[in-house]
Structure formats: structure tokens, C-alpha cells
Amino acid sequence: MVQSILDAISLGGLYSLAALGLGLVFGVMRLVNFAHAELITIAAYTLVLTAQFPLAVSLLFTVIVTVFVALLMEFSVYRRLRGVNPAIMLIASFGLSTVLQRVYELMFGALPRSAVVAPFLRGDFKVAGLSITISSIITIVLTIVILLAMGYLIEKTSLGLQLRAASADFKTARLLGVRSNRLISAAFGLSGVLAACVALILVIQNPQISPYYGLNITILSLVGIVIGGIASLRGAALGGFIVGVVLSSLNTLLGNGRVYAYSWLFILVLVILLVRPGGLLSKGSELERV
């Protein structure tokens, strides 16, 4: 039971980080970046391919590679399309996602790549007779640290203030002189950092990396930002957390019926959206924007 609760919290935290990465980019560009999945995937590949190095070196290298790919994505595709119809941007992100999956397949092969990343984080320990996995505790601690750092950045720094303003009303932020290229690049860079963090946590739990590795968590995190409130960074983080906790709890509660966990999750999502169409943290304005 305790392990199940910890698993639910750790999965919630993980989805929260992924949703925050998506929410940052959505906030400044109104872009649902499906290719965020490929940022998580490239980060996971980098972690596995550099597993022979000390974890800190491997992690640093992973962050650099992921941020580079995120910035390249923004500069080479999304910057060229800025201002076009959101539907075109959405299709472009699908296209980019598919192209990158094929590129990864060519680079790393279609079969999963594997390596033991941070072996000291595997295994479990006993507390009052209960067996608890180290990875679930590490995931929770890591998620809390990253969310606190992101919270500080978003709530207390000048960059965070600009990101929050741009998330609410990008046009007015620009009219106040906020430099859009710099802000959008910063959002993509941060989403790359978050993708690397998500990949680290995922790889500790599942080191079998395929070209589609980041897809599942990205789609579910997108569901999270929709139910949390698509125009709010806090909403994105909350929504991601809810999706993770609910999914983990359903998997535990449904037992053999866990194949229906996604069905129940999406029923819950539909109910939330029927009651609060703009998301849990919306105040109604998002509806008008859509």
C-alpha cells in the first residue's frame, strides 16, 4: 500500500515535469509541441550511451544535447512558422516528431538500446517491515527539487515573470518590449532541461530505449495540461501530477482490469472538462481564446 502511494506520487511528479516542459512552450507560442516526446527520447538515448561515465558527467552531457536539440527545433522549424495558423503549427510538430523518430531509428536502430544508468538507485530497502524501492524515493525527491527550482525560476525571477506574462497574453508582453525570440528560446531551452530530467527518472525505471520512448508520457502529459488549464504553468504542473497519480492508482486498484486504466482516465478527463472546460485552474478566459 505504502509503495503504491509512493509510486502514484512519483508518477504524478514525473508527469508534472513533462507537462511543465510542454506548458512552457505552449505558453509563449500557443504550440502543442508533440516533438517534446523526441526531446525525452534523445535525452534517454544520451543517458544510455554515456552510461559508462560518472552520472554527473552523463547528466550534464544529456542536458547539453537535449537543450541543443530543443533550440535547433525552435530555430529551424518553429521560428520559421511563427505567426501561422495554430493548426499548421500543430501539423508541423507532428511532422517534426515523426521525422525525429525516423532519424533516431537510423542513428540508434529500431531495437531498444539498454544500459544500466545509476545502478546504485536500483533495489529496495525496508522501513518498518515494508519494502520500498529506492527509485520511487529518488524520483519523488528529484521531482520535488526540480519543481522547487522551476517554481523559483518561474515565480521569483525576471525570466519567470516574462514567461508567466507571455503565457497569459503574448501579444501584450511583446508590446511592452519583451524580446520574443529570446523568451521563446528560453522556453524551449527550459523544456529541454525538463525533458532531460524526465528522461533521467524514466531511464532509472526503464532503461530500454526505443525511438518512441518519450511518446506515451508526452501524450499523457498533454492530457494533463488540458485538464490543469492550458494557459497556466501552475495548471500544467497540477494537471500532469493528477494524470500520473490517477493512472498509477488505477493500475493498482484495477488489478487484472488494468488494461482499462486509460479508458477510466479519459472518462475522468472528459468529466473534468465538462465541469471546467478551461481546465482546473482556468478563470474562463481560455475558452474565449480557443
Partner: protein, 243 residues
């Protein structure tokens, strides 16, 4: 033309066959509050949109302190020292009042620390420092107008364009706006162009008014004289009446 002034020279603009502005020339000097009056459809909004870079003129030039602004987008003009307020306020409802005002400075490259200090200082100058921690989406319309003004001033602009700042204010709130304009003039010293339907407010706040009618500048002078000018009466006051 004063080298330090904000100068619009012979601005023309047409939308299809409709000429909205016809060779309009206007000068605003540092520390001066100039009122821009005119009935609906006179071309006021188009004119200030051109000044702030939201629309391109067909002819004429816009110059600040001797430097032409033509071709610059609104954010570039903001960095050149031209700030504006919006009729709709355009505050970030999810941010606090202090953060909204600080953004005015951050947008132009000030550090967060300087911007927040400036924000507190401007809110205090305008007498609305108690609003500082409140979400901008939760304050009254009158206060939102003042916060919008504070945000524009936080950029320490050389010139400030105000688009109907008194719109929707009640009789208690309008004097607070008038007081705020005077405080800004004294403390910040920027030149201001006040586009307003409230003639009483304009005559009280401004040392000079210009009047537009059907895209033509028909008066430029003392506010008291404007009220007695036959052309102005015919074009504007005769239709709209004095508030």
C-alpha cells in the same frame, strides 16, 4: 521642431478610398501634456496607432528626439522611449499589480530588482501601493486604469501616449486620474499625449490641445480657446457636447 520633441510630420493615411488622416502634424515637448480631441471617426485612434507603430502611415514621418521611428514595430518604439496605454487596459490578470508594473521596466531590459523597486516607487507615487500584492484581475476598473498608467510609466518613457484613460471611470475616479497625470508629469517628466473624450478632463490636465475632425487637424492651442473655437464647436462640441 525641438530636437527633444516627439514629432509627427504631415501624417496621411487612407483605408481604400477613405482618407482617415490628411497631413496631420503634431508636436509634443518634454514635460508637456497635450490633449487630442475629436469626435468619433475623426482619426484619433489611427493617428496614435501610427505614432506607436501599430499601423503604417501612407505619408509623413514620426520622429522622437530627432530620430525617425518609421518602420519600427511597437516593441522597438517602446525601446526608443514611446510607451502607450490601452483602452482595454491589457493588464495580466494572473499577475500581481506589482508584477504588472515591473514588467513595464523588465520588457525594456531592466533587471528584476530594479524593475520591482521602480514598480513599488511608481505605485507609491500614484498612491496605489496598497494594491501591490493583489492580482490585477481582481482590482476595480478605475484602479486598473491607474495600474495600466503605472506600467507604461515604469518603462521611464520619454513620451507617453494614453488611449482614453478615463473611459469607464466614474466621477470619483476621474479626479484620481487627473491627479496621477500631474504627479507623473512632475516626477517622471515625460511628454504625454492624452487621447480622450472627456473634454473636462482634457482641459484640466493639458496645457495644449489639438483637435482632429475627419482626419484634418483643425485646432492646435490653448484648451480654453478650443472650447470657444467656431470650427471645433461645429466639428466636435456641437455634435458630442461637453461632458
Amino acid at each position: 521642431m525641438d530636437q527633444k520633441s516627439f514629432h509627427a510630420n504631415e501624417i496621411s493615411k487612407s483605408f481604400g478610398a477613405l482618407q482617415v488622416l490628411d497631413n496631420v502634424t503634431l508636436n509634443v515637448n518634454p514635460g508637456e501634456i497635450v490633449g487630442l480631441l475629436g469626435p468619433n471617426g475623426a482619426g484619433k485612434s489611427t493617428f496614435i496607432n501610427i505614432l506607436a507603430g501599430y499601423e503604417k502611415q501612407d505619408g509623413g514621418t514620426v520622429v522622437v528626439e530627432g530620430k525617425p521611428l518609421d518602420g519600427l514595430k511597437p516593441n522597438a518604439r517602446a525601446r526608443a522611449g514611446i510607451a502607450r496605454t490601452f483602452q482595454s487596459g491589457r493588464l495580466f490578470g494572473n499577475l500581481t499589480v506589482a508584477e504588472n508594473v515591473a514588467l513595464g521596466a523588465i520588457g525594456l531590459g531592466e533587471s528584476g530588482k530594479v524593475a520591482h523597486e521602480r514598480s513599488e516607487s511608481i505605485l507609491e507615487i500614484l498612491g496605489i501601493e496598497k494594491l501591490s500584492p493583489h492580482a490585477a484581475g481582481s482590482i476595480s476598473h478605475g484602479n486598473a486604469r491607474l495600474v495600466g498608467l503605472a506600467r507604461a510609466v515604469a518603462a521611464h518613457p520619454k513620451y507617453l501616449i494614453m488611449d482614453e484613460p478615463a473611459a469607464g471611470l466614474n466621477e470619483d475616479e476621474a479626479p484620481r486620474l487627473l491627479q496621477a497625470l500631474e504627479v507623473i508629469r512632475k516626477n517622471i517628466g515625460c511628454g504625454m499625449l492624452l487621447v480622450e473624450h472627456n473634454v473636462k478632463l482634457v482641459t484640466q490636465a493639458c496645457s495644449r490641445v489639438v483637435v482632429l475632425a475627419t482626419g484634418i487637424l483643425i485646432f492646435d492651442g490653448n484648451p480654453r480657446d478650443a472650447l470657444n473655437n467656431a470650427d471645433v464647436k461645429t466639428a466636435y462640441l456641437g455634435n458630442a457636447g461637453v461632458h
